[in-house]
């Protein structure tokens, strides 16, 4: 098709952004290939490691000495790779309740512990099928963390392995399968990542719609980080800290997870070779770009300065002040991206999904 004909077609449809050289299409395609794909691959790879170390830990008659530390380390790798997806939750991961199957948060009533114990009481010889039919509360990394890190459990003890190993193995298998399935749905000719590269397609009518999804995922991810930190530091409970409602509190991975998620959001902003969302701002919008760059830099510096785990920081005034300041910075970044950036790019992020009517 000659360029003129393509232009006529685009104009007739009002699809002004369908030229292959369109910067929004280029940014969307680059972020799909250079950012989303590696992040999801890293998660699938980390999840695939869980059954290996779970099996080693549950070996009979006696696991190797390093089996429990290895299983814990593999969980923490999976937690970090999962946290990195928080600002990248779109397409297959955002649909069909799947994120809940990976992480149950917030857990205000210690449902993880109660439901894990109930499940095992009911099914001492738990099968994979029984886990698949059970609540998402017991299917994901939050339950896995309970098994490996809760202070009242110790899988170095034979009795605990006897009780919990079936669940450990099945959660590991479920996570491996789920992450592989989502990765498969991202890839391929009909995969979600292809939908971020060429327009129109069955999902997006034009590049702006894909860009809106990317930006919405990033903004929602930042909002979720605010909620996670805000819940822990007491923003939702009259200033009274709630360290046991922080994500991954048992393994003290709350701040590591936060850092991984912020890093990922910044990558989406910057992109590879300056092909991220930032590249779409024109010369007159560079002050906004600098403000957002600075907001990310501030958060990075604040995170680097936190030398203790979240629960320790919450136990003293200086630590709480640091966390409060971090929350303020996250809030500033969230607002800059949701309001100023979306406005500058002429992107509507939608509101019906939050409408409540």
């Amino acid at each position: 098709m000659r360029p003129l004909h393509l232009f006529v077609l685009c104009s007739a449809l009002g699809l002004v952004a369908c030229s292959p050289s369109d910067p929004r299409q280029s940014a969307s395609a680059s972020l799909a290939n250079d950012m989303l794909l590696p992040a999801y691959q890293a998660w699938a790879s980390a999840s695939a490691q869980l059954p290996v170390s779970a099996q080693a830990l549950c070996a009979t008659p006696q696991p190797a000495d390093n089996a429990l530390p290895q299983a814990r380390q593999d969980l923490q790798t999976a937690q970090r790779s999962w946290a990195a997806l928080q600002p990248l939750q779109l397409g297959p991961l955002s649909e069909g309740n799947r994120a809940w199957q990976v992480q149950f948060w917030p857990d205000k009533k210690n449902l993880v512990r109660r439901q894990v114990e109930n499940l095992i009481d009911q099914h001492p010889a738990l099968s994979r099928a029984q886990l698949e039919r059970a609540s998402v509360v017991v299917q994901g990394l939050s339950a896995y963390e309970y098994l490996l890190f809760d202070s009242q459990l110790d899988l170095a003890r034979p009795a605990d392995r006897q009780r919990y190993c079936a669940l450990l193995g099945h959660i590991a298998g479920h996570q491996q399968q789920l992450s592989a399935q989502i990765l498969a749905e991202l890839q391929g000719e009909q995969g979600f990542l292809k939908h971020l590269q060429q327009f129109p397609n069955t999902r997006f009518a034009e590049a702006d719609e894909a860009l809106a999804e990317l930006l919405r995922a990033q903004v929602n991810g930042l909002d979720l980080l605010k909620k996670k930190l805000g819940t822990a530091i007491g923003k939702l409970s009259k200033g009274i800290p709630q360290p046991l409602q922080a994500e991954f509190w048992r393994s003290q991975a709350s701040l590591d997870s936060l850092a991984a998620a912020v890093h990922s959001a910044e990558q989406l902003w910057q992109g590879q070779a300056d092909q991220g969302i930032a590249s779409l701002l024109d010369d007159t919008q560079q002050p906004l770009r600098q403000r957002i760059d600075q907001a990310y830099a501030d958060i990075r510096q604040q995170l680097a300065a936190l030398q203790q785990p979240l629960d320790k920081l919450l136990s003293n005034d200086a630590g709480r002040a640091q966390l409060d300041a971090l929350y303020v910075s996250l809030d500033r970044l969230h607002r800059l991206q949701e309001r100023d950036l979306a406005g500058a790019l002429g992107i509507q992020l939608g509101f019906n999904a939050h409408d409540g009517d």
Binding site: L13, T202, E206, N352, D355, D357
Partner: protein, 363 residues
């Protein structure tokens, strides 16, 4: 772009030549009414022709929700979104604001109203703020181009949201959401004691039937009524996100309210939240938007089998049209779903993208 690429895209579901093929009797494209915001957050009552022409965009002080279209005059009431103190009577020819209808003392509009088929009366879902949550159907008479409140009925439930006419045109179908809210607040006050119900009410206020769903935290919000009297209601589940609860229910003529059959995958896609419902009477299709799940879903109304699962971010308003359905979104381009063939054909509309509110009405 190669020809085969174009063909592939069209076969994949997003049609490319749809705009050129549309023909309307009399040359005038259908008028679509909706509440809409601009990017600065200002609120409008808008009318757009389906071909993208703006008929009017009237600034209004409050965000509106649904639109009650007059059966034969060029009038529509843009109903304030709950909890609202104002609705707007608009001339749909030019967008002229004819009347700002203020809510009565200790009453709030809840976002939905309907004109009676004869055009003289309008009925509105309202909240009694003196006895918070007590549902009220406000009765208004249209005289000399103005609406005047002349009375009210009980909705026989808590927090009524949408109401529509049963196919006899005389019986109101009321979705009592079951959620108690206080004056000027959207905060749910009774999540542990919700009482949602589907009520059939004669126009004179006489209760005909009152039915509940199995799950106490399942809020009945929106409705669609077929020409044979089949009623479908869409729910928003207020309980735990991980709980599996049916989100659609159906009441066929002469039968009790029961769950509409949907697959577990579709239930999960809706993310515990349905927004708008529409029924296409000739094609016997049910359409539902689920903005939290980012999907628009279509089922065969009689067989209760899935016809289409369309990913569409922030999809909101949906209305039947000749070809099938028109669906709006708060985020991207609106779509025409041509359902006359076994595989629905999806075409982006040349309407402005994004910022469309929860409901769409054809005038």
């Amino acid at each position: 772009m190669q020809r085969r690429t174009l063909l592939g895209l069209a076969a994949g579901g997003m049609a490319l030549g749809g705009l050129a093929s549309w023909q309307w009797l009399g040359g005038q494209a259908p008028l679509l009414l909706s509440a809409r915001d601009d990017s600065q957050g200002r609120h409008y009552a808008v009318g757009y022709r389906q071909d993208g022409r703006c008929q009017f965009a009237t600034p209004v002080a409050e965000r509106c929700h649904d639109i009650a279209v007059h059966p034969h005059l060029p009038l529509a009431l843009f109903v304030g979104r709950r909890p609202s103190r104002a609705s707007y009577l608009i001339d749909t020819r030019d967008g002229r604001l004819l009347q700002t209808l203020h809510s009565a003392a200790e009453r709030h509009f809840q976002g939905h109203a309907v004109f009676h088929g004869a055009g003289e009366w309008l009925y509105s879902c309202e909240n009694d703020t003196a006895q918070p949550g007590r549902g009220v159907i406000g009765c208004y008479r249209l005289a000399e181009g103005r609406l005047q409140r002349v009375g009210e009925h009980s909705s026989h439930g808590v927090g009524p949201h949408q109401l529509l006419w049963q196919n006899d045109g005389e019986t109101l179908v009321i979705a009592n959401g079951g959620i108690r809210t206080e004056a000027d607040s959207r905060q749910a006050m009774n999540l542990d004691a919700m009482d949602a119900s589907l009520v059939l009410l004669q126009r004179d206020g006489q209760l005909l039937s009152h039915e509940r769903l199995a799950d106490q935290q399942n809020s009945i919000r929106h409705l669609a009524v077929a020409s044979d009297g089949t009623i479908v209601c869409g729910q928003q589940f207020m309980g735990a996100a991980e709980q599996a609860v049916p989100l659609l229910a159906i009441k066929r003529p002469g039968q009790l309210l029961r769950a509409f059959t949907i697959g577990e995958a579709q239930r999960q896609l809706m993310n515990q939240y349905t927004a708008s419902l529409a029924i296409h009477d000739e094609l016997r299709l049910l359409a539902v938007t689920a903005p939290r799940g980012g999907h628009c879903l279509l089922w065969d109304l009689d067989r209760e089998t899935l016809r289409l699962s369309l990913p569409l971010a922030d999809c909101a308003g949906i209305t039947a049209c000749t070809e099938g359905f028109l669906v709006s979104t708060g985020q991207g381009r609106c779509r025409l779903l041509d359902c006359r063939t076994p595989t629905p054909r999806v075409t982006p509309l040349s309407l402005p993208a994004g910022l469309w509110d929860n409901h769409w009405r054809s005038a």
